[in-house]
């Protein structure tokens, strides 16, 4: 009796001890960043960060899950993933009008992964990983096969920890994008399920699919990376950032005013914070409150106003703590009222942005031209990455960068040729853009003729071509809002910054729609018959000419089949034949 009670007690104690020790090693925070854009749109960025103090390199630690989603943890540990960045986006982010988003994403799906050096085969792990993720997020990520996956050299560096046991060699990186991917509720639902509170409570309760997908831009993303556990960085931990960015055009339903509130836009107000979250904050950009003629008013007043300067750029954010506002069962619906309609004028564009086009006409060949804008009074070095499908036969000798009529020599080029039905083309260029300039990067391509089974349904719609990726390290913070490499949560990056800090920006250009020449899909039998007939003409004639000999013969002599049958029949009835004669 005694022993059993002791054992029970031991179990309870052990269980408690385990619980408390586990509780300390993962944390969750939810944040919402709101910024009214000069074009009249409003940008909402939800960010959910889960930190878990385990070492991504040791698979045995992935056994006890609390806040970290098990489904994702299993995938990460099975396929030796070090860093994973996935985005699913509907619509295009307009850099020249909206500035830079917190996490930039191309239309469609994008995935880039760094594998741990311990991985046995990157190729196999990648193909299994994309299939697993495809199931997890209900997206067609399984189409990210060798035909659409590239291995860029410079564009994607690891965001998280580097060092002993972490990937250094660029061979461990894979990048792929599916510009045709359509993003909808079916992707949102599995993404929401990775959150500790799902979408029942907290900031995620604002996710109303009816409203979210009726917007100008919508992007889901998952970023996973190893980070330092503490200041001393003696132990690593994992940071999972799930973010949802959405851009509303509130002027449409507001008689031209930019007025908005959470209730109006999302159809509901906030009732509580996620009880598992350590931090549940909302930040609103308050630049408009300082404007003289186009003044706005925040409702309700923020708990705190964060004013700070980064490289001569003034920032002012109002901060709300969701828990404090909803403590007594109150609703929180933040909103802004403007005193007049927005005045649309030329918008100050961000320091560096790009536009890309397909040039030429007809379905035989064509070109791609990308205009790279540098609005800064100094030189800027950018890394430009194109990953093009094999059926765009790129001519590398036509790659040309011109700025103001002067040909610029790129600093470095990494070019990998495509191979039919096997491998895409990769073009990675490092180029220094002159100050205050528009440079054009252009090249030519031939359109390949595909087999009739290789065309997608509605072949004449065309093929989507991946966005180009532009990576740049900016010396100014204009239009810049991104948590730094060292910080996990947004609020950590809202601080004074005066040193020689560089602001790393990665932007994506437009994806393109390429028409390819099509065959007639209804004709396979006809074509097979006609081509074989022509071959048969040759074969038959040559067969005749080589196996028969020429003879002189009486032209009246009949030898046809009908004649043979006639003579045969006449033989059967000799009398008739006689009579007739």
């Amino acid at each position: 009796m005694d022993t059993s009670r002791a054992f029970f007690l031991f179990l309870v104690c052990f269980g408690f001890g385990f619980q408390t020790s586990k509780a300390a090693d993962d944390r969750f925070s939810e944040e919402l960043f709101i910024k009214p854009l000069p074009s009249g749109h409003i940008y909402f960025h939800f960010q959910f960060t889960t930190r878990w103090d385990v070492d991504i390199r040791s698979k045995d630690e992935f056994n006890q899950y609390r806040l970290f989603p098990k489904s994702l943890g299993d995938i990460v540990s099975t396929y030796d993933v070090q860093e994973l960045h996935l985005s699913l986006t509907q619509g295009i982010w307009r850099h020249d009008k909206w500035g830079y988003p917190i996490h930039d994403a191309p239309p469609g799906a994008e995935l880039w992964v760094w594998f741990l050096p311990s991985v046995s085969s990157v190729k196999q792990s990648w193909s299994e990983l994309v299939n697993a993720l495809s199931g997890l997020f209900c997206a067609s990520l399984n189409f990210m096969d060798a035909k659409s996956t590239v291995n860029p050299n410079w564009s994607f560096r690891p965001h998280g920890l580097q060092g002993e046991g972490f990937a250094k060699d660029v061979k461990l990186l894979r990048y792929s994008a599916l510009p045709r991917e359509v993003v909808c509720t079916e992707n949102l639902t599995p993404w929401k399920k990775l959150l500790p509170c799902d979408s029942k409570v907290g900031l995620a309760s604002l996710f109303n699919a009816m409203k979210l997908y009726d917007t100008a831009y919508h992007s889901l993303s998952v970023h996973l990376r190893p980070i330092c556990q503490d200041e001393s960085c003696s132990k690593p931990s994992i940071e999972l950032t799930q973010s949802l960015a959405v851009v509303f055009d509130s002027t449409l339903k507001n008689n031209g005013y930019q007025n908005w509130s959470l209730r109006k836009l999302f159809g509901r107000s906030l009732r509580n914070q996620c009880p598992l979250a350590d931090l549940s904050n909302i930040y609103v950009d308050m630049t408009c409150t300082q404007s003289t003629d186009y003044r706005c008013q925040l409702m309700p007043q923020p708990d705190q106003i964060l004013n700070f300067t980064q490289k001569d750029e003034q920032f002012s954010y109002g901060q709300y703590s969701v828990g404090k506002h909803t403590k007594d069962g109150n609703f929180l619906s933040i909103g802004i009222q403007y005193n007049q309609q927005p005045k649309y004028g030329p918008i100050k564009p961000p320091p560096v942005y790009a536009h890309r086009y397909i040039t030429g006409y007809g379905l035989e060949n064509g070109g791609i031209t990308c205009y790279l804008y540098n609005k800064l009074p100094q030189k800027v070095k950018v890394i430009y990455l194109e990953s093009l499908p094999w059926f765009m036969r790129v001519y590398f000798n036509t790659v040309k960068i011109v700025s103001n009529g002067v040909v610029i020599k790129p600093v470095a080029i990494n070019y990998v040729q495509g191979k039919d039905r096997v491998q895409p083309y990769t073009l990675e260029v490092i180029v220094e853009l002159p100050p205050n300039s528009v440079s054009s990067l252009s090249f030519e391509f031939d359109r390949a003729f595909l087999k009739w089974t290789e065309y997608p349904p509605d072949a004449n719609h065309g093929f989507y071509i991946n966005s180009a990726v532009l990576s740049v390290s900016l010396p100014v913070a204009t239009n810049y809002t991104t948590p730094g490499q060292a910080s996990s949560v947004l609020i950590d990056s809202f601080v004074e910054e005066t040193g020689q800090k560089q602001f790393i920006v990665r932007i994506h250009t437009e994806s393109l729609l390429l028409s390819l020449p099509t065959p007639d899909f209804s004709m396979p039998y006809n074509v097979i018959c006609l081509a074989c007939t022509v071959m048969a003409i040759a074969f038959g004639s040559i067969h005749n000419l080589t196996t028969r000999r020429l003879v002189a013969r009486d032209p009246d002599l009949k030898t046809g089949i009908i004649h043979k049958i006639k003579t045969y029949l006449l033989k059967l009835h000799p009398k008739r034949g006689l009579k007739r004669e």
Partner: protein, 439 residues
């Protein structure tokens, strides 16, 4: 005589030189009938650029020239720079000179053969016998058929590397007729190395060497069988071919070029339209039959060698021409450069023209197709008012025209032989006028 030949050369080259100064070559180079993936100058430039940038041109699927050709063109372009058209003018002149020599050799050969065979001829066929004076005119026709031929001019202007393939095939013709076994097999190996299909020309070459020895009574004492000649020719050919591959391997330091050239020719992965029958057939082919039909179509291009070699064993040069013709029609990426060599050599068989039955129809088909193919291409890919079937139809007609011509030539040859043997008088035993038919 010689003056007319000179005029042909001057006018032909002058025309080419003048046209190179216009914008016409740019348009011609983009024509799929002239520039196939194997011969396109645009792709050569890309290959040379990639080599200079230290990227292997065979790592991708754009460049399909051989390593030796790449090396050679790279060197030549370094010398000529923007005057690259001079290479093509020189190559075309060389082709003209070779054709002239071939025509002369051919006349001598035909007279020699006629003298040897004359005991078998019917006395009534004396009007059919080839005469020295008429044979001497051949050189004019052959040179004119090359220098003033719109197909040859187009190929030269489009800077198609098919011109070099033609040069090699003609060199093979020339050295074969000179009975220089070593050089002939070298040229055959080189031509095969460049475009694979000249492989079949080994058979007529061997037959010719045998016949030549018989005609020149070199080996009266020991009448060696043709097998010896086949073995020597094939042996030498294989030796040269392997040497060329070895040199290429050494140059490229990898064997990637083998799949990039011969794999590309045999498996037809690029389905860009051309004047042949492969492209649309394999675009529309059902996936599970693809391999089977690839075999059928490639065998079709080569199989005629066997029956024709048996039938035409006494006429190896004619066999060589017919095989060049047939592979030019049935190869996987045919172009006008194959048509140009066929038409340039055609006047050698001027004595058969009287027996051709379809020459008018074939001429009309050639002209119509040549005019219509760029029009239908424009309607399909630029105007969008036609579809692929239109262009397919025109390439099908073109192939049919070529087949009509080649089978007609074969028939004419048989008739000519028949008339030589049996005479022009076709009275049957019962006194009726007989009709010559295949039986």
């Amino acid at each position: 005589m010689a003056i007319i030949v000179h005029i042909c050369f001057v006018v032909g080259l002058g025309l080419r030189f003048w046209l190179f100064k216009t914008s016409f070559p740019g348009w011609l180079a983009s024509r799929v009938e002239i520039s196939t993936p194997l011969t396109s100058w645009k792709r050569v430039m890309e290959g040379i650029y990639l080599t200079r940038e230290h990227v292997s041109p065979y790592s991708g699927d754009l460049f399909h020239e051989t390593p030796l050709m790449l090396k050679w063109l790279d060197l030549v372009l370094k010398v000529f720079k923007q005057y690259d058209y001079l290479i093509f003018l020189a190559a075309d002149t060389l082709i003209g000179i070779l054709l002239l020599k071939i025509a002369n050799l051919f006349s001598k050969y035909m007279l020699l053969k006629q003298a040897a065979d004359s005991p078998n001829y019917s006395p009534e066929a004396s009007s059919l016998l080839l005469r020295k004076e008429s044979l001497r005119k051949l050189e004019i026709f052959v040179v004119a058929a090359h220098m003033l031929n719109p197909y040859s001019i187009a190929v030269c202007l489009a800077r198609s590397t098919g011109i070099f393939h033609n040069l090699l095939v003609l060199l093979a013709f020339f050295f074969t007729m000179k009975a220089q076994t070593i050089l002939s097999t070298l040229c055959l190996a080189f031509a095969t190395y460049e475009s694979f299909y000249p492989l079949v020309l080994c058979v007529p070459a061997a037959l010719f060497f045998h016949q030549y020895s018989v005609l020149n009574k070199k080996s009266v004492k020991e009448e060696s069988s043709s097998l010896v000649y086949f073995l020597t020719t094939l042996g030498l050919f294989s030796f040269w071919f392997l040497m060329l591959l070895a040199v290429s391997y050494h140059l490229d330091e990898s064997a990637q070029f083998v799949s990039s050239i011969y794999g590309f020719i045999l498996t037809v992965p690029d389905l860009s339209p051309n004047i042949g029958i492969f492209w649309y057939f394999f675009t529309e082919m059902f996936e599970h039959f693809r391999i089977f039909f690839l075999f059928v179509f490639q065998i079709n291009a080569l199989i005629y060698t066997v029956p024709l070699a048996v039938r035409l064993r006494e006429q190896p040069i004619f066999l060589m021409y017919i095989l060049t013709f047939l592979t030019g029609v049935f190869k996987s990426y045919p172009s006008y450069s194959d048509v140009s060599i066929i038409l340039a050599l055609l006047p050698l068989w001027k004595h058969l023209f009287a027996y051709l039955r379809n020459s008018f129809i074939v001429t009309c088909m050639f002209i119509c197709c040549t005019v219509f193919s760029p029009l239908l291409w424009h309607l399909w890919l630029y105007a969008g008012s036609a579809n692929a079937n239109f262009y397919f139809a025109i390439t099908l007609v073109f192939t049919t025209a070529e087949i009509f011509l080649v089978t007609d030539l074969l028939y004419a040859n048989l008739r000519w032989e028949y008339d030589l043997t049996y005479g022009l008088n076709r009275k049957l035993e019962d006194g009726k006028e007989g009709q010559v038919v295949l039986e």
